[in-house]
């Protein structure tokens, strides 16, 4: 706690687009009162001041090289609560896509004969490196969800991250299901919480929030096949953000 009694929070970034931090900044547009209840002591994207005595650490980005690990461990040591901020930190996110190709080829493709200059390994969620207390899913995170997680943490409650499928939110919004319109969607296996924003804007859910604890995978695949997808299409849609989660299955298959 700081002298004014406000809990101190800090933001850190690893391999990511920083869109989640940007969303945090956006959430301040709607909720400037946030600054009345917490003290932000580190936020490199937005401020120069720096403090090391934080209680809650929000970590954006996946871990994609060995040299990131000590920094993550240091954050874990200091913070009472570590929250993964967004799909990269929570799941590995799009960064994990490169795991679909042999790492050597990936390096060479991008850096050619200079490939060895650049340190990298398969991108992974931060939970693969340190213990994580909670995750705010999404690519990017939903700004309202960010605020409600902060409130819950300040009250000592479990953050209200749903563990039911996106279809729930989609239906409650009264959307026409994309399948009715001949499109496909991963809503039935994806964790809700974004307000089904993609289907609401006519686009298929790509599971950026990860899967629910107990998805009916077989049934989902059958639905996708019935909708005309090939096995390759299904692998593709299943790996957009969740390569790290489904990679084992893919490796087994092929």
């Amino acid at each position: 706690m700081s002298s004014n009694g406000k809990p101190k929070i800090a933001f850190f970034d690893f391999t990511s687009c920083e869109g989640c931090q940007l969303t945090v900044i956006d959430s301040l547009q709607d909720h400037p009162e946030l600054l009345n209840v917490v003290e932000i002591v580190q936020f490199r994207e937005a401020m120069t001041e720096k403090g090391e005595d934080y209680q809650i650490a929000f970590v954006e980005g996946s871990c994609s090289r060995a040299s990131d690990e000590p920094r993550l461990k240091k954050i874990r040591q200091q913070a009472a609560i570590v929250v993964a901020l967004g799909a990269c930190a929570h799941l590995g996110g799009v960064n994990a896509l490169k795991a679909l190709h042999p790492l050597d080829e990936v390096r060479k493709y991008v850096y050619g004969d200079k490939a060895d200059w650049y340190e990298t390994y398969d991108a992974r969620p931060i939970s693969a490196v340190i213990d994580v207390d909670y995750a705010i899913p999404g690519c990017p995170i939903d700004r309202n969800e960010f605020i409600s997680v902060v409130k819950a943490l300040l009250l000592g409650k479990k953050p209200p991250i749903p563990d039911y499928p996106l279809c729930v939110e989609c239906k409650l919004k009264g959307n026409v299901c994309l399948y009715t319109k001949g499109q496909v969607c991963l809503g039935p296996v994806t964790r809700a919480g974004c307000g089904a924003i993609c289907p609401s804007f006519g686009a298929s859910c790509e599971a950026c929030r990860g899967f629910i604890t107990n998805p009916n995978d077989n049934s989902m695949r059958e639905v996708l096949i019935e909708a005309g997808l090939t096995v390759e299409d299904i692998t593709s849609i299943y790996t957009m953000f969740t390569t790290y989660q489904v990679r084992e299955k893919i490796q087994q298959k092929g």
Partner: protein, 426 residues
């Protein structure tokens, strides 16, 4: 007298970069801007993915210019596959693009740059000292974000833009609401121009080659030829002749140069090349800021951003007017007319020229990809600027020098997390 400036992870920029400057006995012995962002390998990640996913994957290159990446990506795919956009789609694309230009520029000039002039470390202390300014910035930024959200669902990682058009359309009521707010924001524009015209911009001149897109009929943001202040003009497909990329070991980003030792892209480059096409009110703003092409003070890149805030708002107003006039027709995205294909998509994102170049195979999957990011093109120029700046400020103490250097870095509005890299397409 030796000095060492070592700024580890420059703050208030997007992504990770270090400034390393060493002065020994009055001689500059080291002068680097190190990009230490982890490499992300987006081009490799695109390989084998269906073309429809490309814009969703590449928008994740950067959270700030997500709409810009998505736009350039879609244009690359659309050109590769022979897709022609409807007039309505063009209007919506441009409108949401302005939303992003506004969002990014406002964030940059108000929250990242202004604190330096006001002697504070971030926008947060300004809440108490300059509440009006902060509230205005938040209000303007919210409007910018809402423009994007109305058209594509959200600003960071837009949803409704797809190959050939849109999957969702704003309602007339939503557009009327935007229109109202855009009109009201004009007074915020005036206040913004007034605020930034009074700031003591550091005096620093270094002429370089300014590179941007250009179109005959409008201030270019999407599509167009590549032009430079050295008189080069070429179709975007020949981008490699300008952006010769090379690599340096201290950076995970790639550097570029054209004819000179370095080149600069971004708001200032656009301003210098396309000044005539600015909205008259934007030209007034430029006058108030004392800017007339060609401006060679790098710090005034932020000034050019202020000018573009005015331009984008005014152009957005015209676009919304037009949309309201013609009404909104929900329409299917335009069709792909060929496969395989190859295409180059270009856009002037907030930080400058962005190029996506794809090859798409028979099966609709991407077989080759190349993305050139504005910040990569600028870093080389930044180092050259630093070499000129350091001797001019060497007499100052280290803190003051550090601030000058950091401000220079920030003037570029670098977006380092865009660290993706190219390889010649085979």
């Amino acid at each position: 007298m030796s000095k060492r400036i070592d700024v580890h992870h420059v703050t208030r920029v997007e992504g990770h970069g270090n400034i390393v400057v060493e002065v020994e006995n009055g001689n500059l012995t080291a002068c680097r801007f190190e990009v230490v962002e982890t490499p992300r390998f987006f081009e490799a990640m695109l390989l084998g993915r269906p073309y429809r996913e490309a814009s969703h994957i590449t928008s994740r290159i950067c959270g700030i210019c997500a709409t810009g990446h998505a736009t350039a990506s879609l244009r690359a795919t659309e050109k590769a596959l022979g897709v022609t956009l409807s007039e309505q789609s063009w209007l919506l694309r441009k409108l949401t693009f302005h939303g992003e230009i506004l969002d990014s520029h406002i964030l940059h000039v108000y929250m990242l740059v202004a604190p330096d002039f006001l002697g504070v470390g971030s926008v947060i202390p300004l809440v108490n000292t300059h509440p009006e300014t902060v509230l205005r910035a938040l209000r303007m930024k919210k409007l910018a974000g809402d423009i994007c959200a109305t058209v594509t669902g959200r600003h960071t990682h837009p949803i409704a833009m797809t190959v050939g058009g849109f999957t969702h359309f704003p309602t007339i009521v939503e557009l009327e609401n935007l229109y109202q707010r855009l009109i009201e924001s004009r007074k915020d524009l005036d206040a913004t121009v007034e605020l930034f015209s009074k700031l003591p911009w550091p005096e620093f001149e270094r002429e370089t080659e300014y590179v941007s897109l250009s179109k005959p009929d409008e201030y270019a943001f999407i599509d167009g030829d590549i032009v430079t202040t050295d008189g080069v003009r070429m179709p975007a497909e020949r981008y490699k002749e300008v952006t010769n990329e090379f690599m340096v070991p201290h950076s995970t980003a790639k550097f570029t140069r054209n004819k000179r030792e370095s080149l600069m892209v971004g708001a200032l480059a656009r301003f210098n090349n396309n000044y005539e096409q600015l909205h008259p009110k934007a030209k007034e703003a430029a006058a108030a800021l004392g800017m007339k092409p060609k401006v060679t003070n790098t710090y005034l890149n932020s000034g050019a951003q202020v000018v573009e805030i005015v331009h984008s708002t005014e152009d957005a107003i015209q676009i919304v007017e037009k949309l309201l006039e013609r009404g909104i027709q929900p329409e299917e995205p335009a069709h792909v007319t060929r496969m395989p294909g190859e295409g180059v998509g270009v856009a002037e994102v907030p930080r400058g020229l962005l190029i996506h170049h794809y090859q798409i195979g028979e099966d609709g999957c991407i077989t080759g990809a190349n993305c050139i990011i504005p910040t990569n093109q600028n870093i080389n120029n930044l180092e050259h600027d630093m070499r000129v700046l350091v001797p001019q400020v060497m007499h100052k103490n280290e803190d003051a020098m550090r601030l000058d250097l950091e401000m220079l870095v920030r003037a570029y509005d670098p977006c380092i997390s865009c660290s993706v890299h190219v390889l010649t397409i085979r």
